[in-house]
Assembly symmetry: C2
Homo-oligomer: 527 residues x 2
């Protein structure tokens, strides 16, 4: 995806909305985690990412008896993935300390991040995301309390140097985990299928670890609020932690900082203060309406609807400017659509479906608001739907096509199901055909797109196939040892990194947390 | 030299003395240094250490207009060497900051420390002394205030990564220099010889930068109080800054923590609290008496003499246990003598001379103290001197010999001169012979030994040769661009590192500060 670099974009700043966002800021909950074992990170080509964490010969309960010199290393295992801050006490043994202590710390979601730490960095994203620190301590004993927040399961401390006359000893390692919610708030599911129960549990942990000051996309990398991710996180949150304030806060952040034209940023920053990014994605902008709709469904919060309905309306109006008189969407290069990371398929029809999906939700909000303009949107919807049915649905193949070359791809079918462009029976048949012709899914690397495929299966009545995909996709990550679900996963190439570096992959990423929503909504009927 | 690793040594702890040491702690003076130019560190084989700092195309006054991205670097030049702390303001330009900033900072006394920073470390000392930091800043703008103290002239900031969407800008770089004295306290000399005036100025700056909470050996590396260095620093201090309290503090630190047998450590640590090192050097122990003597000469401080005379006496007694009935010293492997770093010459005769040197000073103190034991020491002195004259002075060559193989080396001659074993005429002839046969000096890498050679020249009446050596040795460092004098320098191999790594060399080292003492005492007669 091309990121805009235009810094001349003019944004509005609705201070009343931003104040409401601040007022809804969650009080973080802290939990002290004491590592439960020491591990060694061992090269193992049989493991997915080439490394395994095996129990160290050194026992955790004897920690204070071990001393470490130049090039020696210890690795704490927190037992599962956490987000928070680390501290440890250090002292020297031997002769008086005749040189500083110099250590490297590596915080790793997966063993590969420790294993590859000293390889030259080949990743496409900023190397600054790698969770490593180099620390000098001039005098010992000392308590090392790192200021920065990390997302990790493993904490490696490599001693770069002491001196030949003394070594370093460690004690009292602590990880203060943080989140705006607690795991104990949510009851584990009992679906009767242990694999699904486990997938639900990992989903919950993923969501939990991403629920911080805002809904973050990944607590290791990016650490910010994206509209597309927010929509899925909010849905999973309603089905589980049910934290109203955090969704409200995020809605007001987006609603408080559109461009002067009313375009909504694809993501916002909240540090050092609230800042909208200059990245705009067509589908993500539409999801503002979608998130407001879902939120209102959940909480019937009139005040928020009254505040943010005009923002949604303007963004819908802007999106509709790209629709021609026949009801067909024409994407603008300056306002790309996301749908999925993959760039090698035509996204026009998917984008048309997302527009219909959001417009339907908007019309429901317009009804609640008794907006006198509602008929205009209803007319637009009718036009969009019929254009989709008549011009994008291929009568011969019974599949949706996309773009001038009438490409058939899986995203178009799934989004058209989610948009409800066909009647229920048509949706069922469409997904039957999709399963027959386009499954198994290939070339999709994001749990984000897999979510939409899976929800389309559930929604169209293909429950068995939906459960199979849950297991084949999220279950495969569990099989590979995921404590939380990953930003990127391609079952046909499971060690894929979209960034040319496994170390920079995010192994706890919000948009992968939706199985808890899908399981609880479609299998347990907790709607 | 072999360092002892025996941690079972029992030390005394005279809290009254340590409290007096604390009470004499200097109030550090702070000076804000704003870098005066930006430089580039350029590879240049014609330069002594292979690199040169040349003025950057970027102008310091335009600093805030430059922005830096991945792998870009800027280097501040403070104009000369300083010891202290660094701060700089940072901000981002471009799109909102979508990744942390990751920078490396290098604090360098010499350009080579920046030039070689990413070479694999091959040095013999702990790599932890290299003055570099890796810093992540999650949000900008920020003020970066580093906690640690550095010794440097150059501060390099290398941007490891920003992101393609933004860059970093720097402003308000500041170096808060610290010392227990100020350069303005001392008048520059006017010898009539600009080269000597410059050597004196560089000596003063060296001493100034080493005068911190204690007299440090090197503010970049080791950063602690050594007895041998203290003796020379105190002498230079009397001739210049004349800070009584700092010498007093250091005397009480050594005097307050001997072993239970009365042996005085070669060095002490003062952080995290006062700790004697488990390293003992025969000559350094003797210098405790020497320092006390010089201090009393300077200030006639009765209280300190009363307190510390017994400590000196015990240490002299201990040293004398190694002298046989004929007045010859027999060194003990467990208590090595330093004299110089070089290990390839016999040090027995030098050690005998140091003993005589210190014993003479002790007897003067004993006279002041009217110690009834004085005659015992006088007898020992007579024995030591006559054994030296009769058994160590070779009548044929008119030079002192050392060890069973009757080795002739420069250290023996010079220390025998300083100890005054021969009458003045004998000393003159001895040094005439030494100059003829053993000059130019070879194989000596320490300004410490060069000091003793030079003082022996002055003391024996070879003023012209002494001035020549000042210029050939310390003047050569000035010629090579020294802002402060170095820990190690061998004129015949000027890029020598005793540690197999120029980056770990200390380029501001206390024991090289003595020209200011030699010039002011022997050339200007400020005794």
């Amino acid at each position: 995806m091309e990121f805009q670099n235009d810094t001349a974009i003019q944004f509005e700043r609705n201070q009343k909305f931003l104040d409401k966002a601040t007022a809804s800021k969650p009080k973080l909950q802290y939990d002290t985690i004491v590592p439960n074992r020491l591990v060694k990170i061992v090269k193992d080509e049989a493991k997915l990412f080439g490394y395994e964490a095996v129990t160290d010969d050194k026992a955790m309960q004897d920690l204070t008896t071990y001393s470490f010199g130049r090039n020696e290393q210890l690795v704490f295992d927190l037992g599962t993935h956490y987000v928070g801050k680390f501290s440890v006490d250090l002292t020297s043994v031997g002769a008086p300390m005749d040189a500083p202590l110099y250590i490297q710390l590596i915080f790793a979601e997966q063993p590969v991040e420790i294993g590859d730490v000293n390889k030259p960095y080949t990743g496409l994203l900023s190397q600054s995301w790698l969770q490593e620190e180099y620390i000098h301590l001039d005098t010992l004993p000392a308590k090392l309390e790192l200021d920065r927040r990390y997302a990790c399961r493993y904490v490696a401390i490599k001693v770069i140097d002491t001196s030949p006359k003394w070594q370093v000893q460690f004690s009292n390692p602590k990880f203060i985990a943080e989140s705006s919610v607690t795991m104990t708030q949510v009851k584990p599911v009992k679906t009767g299928d242990l694999e699904l129960d486990k997938i639900d549990a990992v989903s919950l942990k993923t969501l939990h670890d991403c629920m911080q000051d805002v809904f973050e996309d990944g607590p290791k990398r990016d650490r910010r609020l994206w509209l597309g991710d927010l929509r899925l996180q909010a849905l999973a949150n309603y089905a589980s932690f049910d934290n109203q304030q955090l969704v409200k806060r995020c809605l007001y952040l987006f609603g408080g900082m559109p461009t002067v034209d009313g375009k909504i940023s694809a993501n916002v920053f909240t540090k050092p203060h609230d800042i909208p990014d200059n990245t705009f994605l067509y589908d993500y902008s539409l999801f503002f309406t979608s998130i407001l709709f879902d939120y209102y469904q959940q909480y019937q919060d009139q005040e928020t609807l009254i505040d943010l309905y005009p923002v949604a309306k303007t963004s819908i109006d802007l999106a509709l400017t790209l629709v021609d008189s026949q009801g067909l969407l024409h994407l603008d290069k300056g306002w790309p659509v996301f749908i999925d990371w993959a760039q090698d398929f035509d996204k026009t029809t998917s984008a048309q479906a997302v527009l219909i999906y959001a417009l339907k939700q908007f019309i429901e909000l317009a009804q609640i608001k008794t907006d006198p303009d509602i008929s205009k949107y209803q007319a637009q919807l009718t036009l969009l739907v019929s254009a989709s049915q008549e011009q994008l649905f291929d009568k011969a193949t019974r599949l949706f096509v996309s773009g001038p070359e009438r490409q058939v791809n899986i995203a178009s079918q799934c989004w058209m199901v989610l948009a409800g462009v066909l009647p229920d029976a048509g949706n069922y048949q469409l997904m039957t055909k999709t399963i027959a012709e386009l499954f198994p899914v290939k070339g999709v690397a994001t749990p984000y797109m897999y979510h939409h495929i899976d929800e389309a299966l559930f929604k169209s009545g293909h429950k068995e196939e939906a459960v199979k995909l849950l297991k084949d996709y999220w279950g495969a990550m569990v099989h590979y040892g995921a404590d939380t679900f990953w930003e990127a996963f391609k079952p046909e190439q499971p060690d894929f990194s979209p960034y040319n570096s496994l170390a920079i992959n995010s192994f706890c990423h919000a948009w992968s947390c939706t199985p808890t929503y899908l399981i609880r909504k479609y299998l347990l009927g907790n709607d």
